[in-house]
Symmetry: C2
Subunit: 189 residues, 2 copies
């Protein structure tokens, strides 16, 4: 059931760094995105795969983690992602990318969840330094970075409280709580 | 396997209009989107459900269908969508919606595919007339319309030819052909 996969597919930010992700697996995940919808079928997105400690170390410092957890700078050594997929838009194909990156990122992460992996879409990126670190050609615009690994944290969905606060938070046991709006709140009459 | 669902989840534009989609089904589909990722967990998207002939008829004329099929104005009576999900961004929550609509739309359409249904993400919309037809409050910005139904056409994926043309086309038998770029083309070194 897709629903089980959707529920399993939480945004994970801490991983078991002993579990690598192979290039073959990353290619399979990108292939799922390749076969998905793209605005006017232009397919302007391209993907840079990273799964070596060396290349991962080039990417990690340029990502911002969990904006609402102000006393947490991001995953410590030993719990960092073991792979990344850097998603870029090829401006030689299109100048804007609509919501193609959302379609692709969600498909990739659902695929990762099916494999017992997990990850997080990161849009808060130091763009210029990351571009430089990866020697990305100017024609490519970074749109999203997917951090991937074997999740090593518990993430629970709960209802948004009456006050309406949607900020996720982490409890004393390290469980990550994510308030989701109720169905009734997001349906228009 | 998610891959089977991804392959099954083509963009369909012609439907068996004898097959309705219940409100309960539409709610289940939106619930999948509700449980999915949202930038900074803001969850600014809201959803208007339509599955009556009367309301569907208000929506249909404001959508543009299959831009590359220049001699086809859209599905004829009898093959039109039996439901729509109008996706809007609530500007009281956020001013921009990132790629949330891509995440949500893909999740909904994968859910539809699992049920033997199908649809199409439509971004080419006459915004002001549709807003008026639906009496949408000014705070809601239409971001995408999902057309849904029981598909009544065959859609095949093929490789982009050497010339690089990504335009989809329909053959004499009415089969819809969608050229997808090869994996090698979308992976960066």
């Amino acid at each position: 059931m897709l629903k089980e996969l959707v529920v399993k597919n939480r945004s994970y930010r801490r991983f078991d760094e002993n579990v690598p992700i192979s290039t073959a697996t990353l290619r399979e995940l990108v292939d799922l995105a390749r076969l998905s919808a793209s605005g006017a079928n232009r397919q302007p997105l391209k993907y840079l795969l990273s799964n070596t400690p060396e290349q991962n170390a080039l990417i990690f410092p340029h990502l911002a983690w969990a904006g609402y957890l102000t006393d947490w700078a991001g995953p410590a050594e030993g719990e960092r992602p073991t792979a990344y997929i850097v998603m870029v838009g090829d401006t030689a194909i299109a100048k804007t990318f609509g919501c193609d990156h959302g379609i692709a990122a969600q498909t990739i992460l659902l695929g990762a969840a099916e494999l017992g992996l997990g990850g997080c879409m990161i849009a808060s990126i130091q763009l210029a330094p990351l571009r430089e670190a990866l020697h990305l050609d100017e024609r490519y615009e970074i749109v999203l970075v997917l951090a991937l690994g074997k999740p090593k944290e518990t993430v629970v969905i709960e209802s948004v409280a009456a006050a309406g606060d949607i900020k996720y938070w982490r409890d004393a046991q390290g469980v990550h709580h994510v308030p989701k709006r109720a169905l009734a709140e997001i349906l228009l009459d």
